[in-house]
Symmetry: C2
Subunit: 453 residues, 2 copies
């Protein structure tokens, strides 16, 4: 354990660079989001810098945007998370590998098996970003006429996580005997079938893969609505998010931790790592110029596409230089809509200004020198706004290299970030306990969160 | 193109060794089926030997067998195919990677995306073994009370393959513009949504990943019933199978090719590679002894478990030394049941003898020296019994090494097997054409099978 609290850093790598102007930035690889070579290079650099994890978002439809925006999207083609992360597991040794998987459009048996397999292949480095899939177009790709209600999605998600963790516990850690003499390979008394019958899911079990090295891959969540926060409080070990300000982060963090306390979960079993767009340069001016250049590369059509998708509502035919109209509730994600609506209300932004904000990343950004950003990050850590960040790079490869070559050494100098990995697994990097097996508890089991899920 | 016809060789690697005594064989790694290290070593050796492909079966339940058999199964824990093959894609360059995926228990959008991703990550080396999942226990893991009817499974499979190949065709091969100057990344006129509405599936599309390097990953099938053969004739480019004799293989091969002719498909667009269990040694006696040793390591409980699962019917409480009772039709796979019933009828085997046959691999086996096996394989090739084999190794690593060190060089000496890969993709290894895009056909499209699916 480190002497004082340290930052945890994830790298948000799908899209490789989230900013819609990223691929046009001078010196950027326009193809980075779909280049195995850039992904391999990036993860090796991130591992060299001792990042906690490489994070892959996932979407189950072309992003819901009009053609004019779609044609400008550099993330229109992307790798699928399990296949990419498995390939990258073979060329890395320590860095965590977090894959996004949907509880709305997949089956718990598949999800449990794939994450267990990734965890075994990587020696305990897997994490599951549990999403309920806010994009309404996804439903049309999975046989539904329309999207499931927001709260129903979260109800199903809760049950889904319970089933998946139960499936991971199918085999006791010591189930495998492998006695060639007697011919006994596995002790059948050390295998458990969950036989789950719930409102959304029926799953018999057992899973046909040994318990993951981490017990369970790390559970990650990014929901921000009350239902999303509640699910996170009940199940998440890492929360990603996109708070617009340090104050918003602090109150989110406090809210989730009080929800945890209310259900008897120890607050120390959670790491909150909000998304942070980082532009670092040798001077503040240079950093601001870079950000401005990037933002200038966001095409209006692209910005309005991002805005529509965040609002869950099409504002393309309103006056770009007028105010945002009234936006109705939809069943898509709520938090992004609220962020945009608040921005419009509080700063009086026009649709054109909102479109640029949406297309150029509207969450929190650190723009400055290594020193100024390290100061800010330290403030986030010390005032309990977060436990670190899920870093979003402005472009690939240069924007990532500058974070690694300039910012990380400064954080290390201050003792805010590790110089070496202390452990081997993602749980160890994050300082999270290994869950015990709910069906095969150790002899003197102390009550931990494991048993409360 | 080679001067005369050559063998194609796949390696059946999940289970790493299919024989239920394999893990107990002297010198075998009892953990081979679930050892990344053995998998990595195996695939590198197979690539060194220029095998066409590494093949991963997949099952969606613990095999349906009684506890007494289950506890003796070295395949009770296995890697999931996409994760393992993606990891192995990173440590190999040429060998094909065939993953099994079920059309009964998965969604076409997921399957299309994962295979496309694996094909991109591996530079065009992916293949899809299309299965309908015969194991009735799988249904219980996916929310169903009972298994879908055999023929309904195949109806759905046909539609599923059509949807998946349609999703692969979502982007024209030249859709990506990536013009940083104008900010146009993709040409929207070169993206197509299938908008499929069929009896089993509704899928809007488009897929959010570029068309695979191979156009479509190679379509593989292993069904053996009339419905299975018909699906293969309509869609498969490679057929695996488990014929018990060369005559059975020849008639199967002829049957499928006549089904192809009946629907206007060119017979040369199919490779038939039946499973072949290969035990090679320096003398015939030694080879026979090895096989006998292996078979002696099959525990009766394990054999009866395999037999029950092949029959889709539990015969455990019948007299082991009596005849096989009447076996009713079930909705599980038909061909395995028929094989066992015929074996009992034709050779008058008792339940105990059938159990040993089931547990020790009941399909065709080549047991002998490099010369005798090469003679036999040549006969299969020259008499149109098959286009090669899906090799099953008796144990890992020694049994695999002997095939590579003894048999392959003999096949190469005879000009029956490549000494170097001529192409880069699995299609190229197999001599199969790259399908054109059904929505974006080349200007002077010749009618090929692509358009007939
Ligand atoms: C950093 C971050 C990453 C996310 N990644 C994904 C993703 O990969 N796939 C997805 O469907 N949603 C993703 N989301 C969306 C969330 O899962 C969630 O739907 C959204 O934050 C809205 O929250 P709510 O559903 O609780 O309203 C992400 C959100 C954030 C902040
Ligand atoms: C070599 C070989 C490999 C197979 N691999 C799988 C597999 O991985 N998963 C699966 O569910 N079925 C697998 N099967 C079973 C077939 O898909 C099919 O269900 C079986 O041959 C019965 O055929 P039928 O369903 O047409 O009667 C395999 C069969 C063979 C011969």
């Amino acid at each position: 354990m480190a002497k004082h609290r340290q930052l945890h850093l994830g790298a948000f790598m799908r899209p490789a660079a989230i900013h819609t102007g990223a691929w046009r930035y001078p010196g950027a690889d326009p193809h980075a989001n779909f280049s195995l070579e850039q992904m391999r290079r990036s993860i090796r650099r991130l591992e060299e810098a001792k990042f906690d994890a490489f994070f892959m978002a996932d979407h189950l439809a072309l992003l819901n945007m009009p053609i004019a925006a779609l044609m400008r999207s550099h993330t229109v083609t992307s790798f699928e998370p399990f296949t990419l992360l498995s390939a990258l597991s073979a060329v890395t040794e320590r860095i965590g590998l977090i894959a996004t998987a949907s509880t709305t459009f997949d089956a718990p048996y598949h999800i449990a098996k794939r994450f267990a397999s990734l965890d075994h292949l990587s020696g305990g480095r897997a994490g599951w970003n549990v999403v309920t899939t806010a994009n309404p177009d996804a439903a049309l790709n999975f046989g539904y006429e329309s999207q499931m209600d927001h709260d129903d999605r979260y109800e199903r998600a809760r049950e889904f996580v319970e089933v998946v963790t139960g499936l991971w516990d199918s085999f006791a850690d010591d189930a495998f005997v492998r006695d060639t003499e007697s011919g006994v390979f596995v002790d059948p008394a050390r295998i458990h079938a969950i036989s789950h019958k719930g409102p959304s899911l029926k799953v018999q079990g057992p899973l046909n893969i040994a318990r993951p090295p981490q017990g369970w891959p790390v559970i990650v969540q990014a929901g921000a609505s009350p239902a999303g926060r509640q699910l996170a409080a009940e199940t998440a070990e890492v929360i990603f998010g996109a708070p617009p300000t340090i104050e918003a982060a602090r109150s989110f963090n406090a809210d989730v931790r009080s929800r945890m306390a209310a259900i008897g979960r120890a607050p120390d079993t959670l790491r909150y790592l909000p998304g942070a767009f980082v532009v670092v340069a040798d001077s503040m001016n240079e950093a601001l110029e870079r950000r401005a250049t990037l933002d200038s590369l966001v095409h209006y059509d692209s910005g309005i596409g991002s805005l529509n998708s965040m609002l869950g509502f099409d504002v393309s035919d309103h006056d770009p230089d007028g105010p945002l109209p009234e936006i109705p509730e939809t069943e898509a994600g709520r938090s992004q809509r609220e962020r945009m609506v608040n921005l419009a209300r509080e700063k009086g932004l026009t649709i054109r200004e909102l479109a640029r904000a949406a297309g150029s990343y509207s969450g929190f950004a650190f723009v400055g020198t290594a020193t100024s950003i390290a100061d800010e990050m330290q403030e986030w850590l010390e005032t309990e706004a977060s436990d670190g960040f899920n870093v979003m790079f402005p472009w690939i490869p240069g924007g990532l290299d500058e974070v690694i070559d300039k910012l990380v050494p400064e954080l290390q100098r201050r003792g805010l970030f590790r110089r070496e990995y202390e452990g081997r697994t993602l749980r160890e990097h994050l300082g999270l306990p290994r869950p015990s097996n709910r069906f095969f508890p150790p002899e003197h089991e102390v009550l931990t969160r494991t048993s409360s899920v």
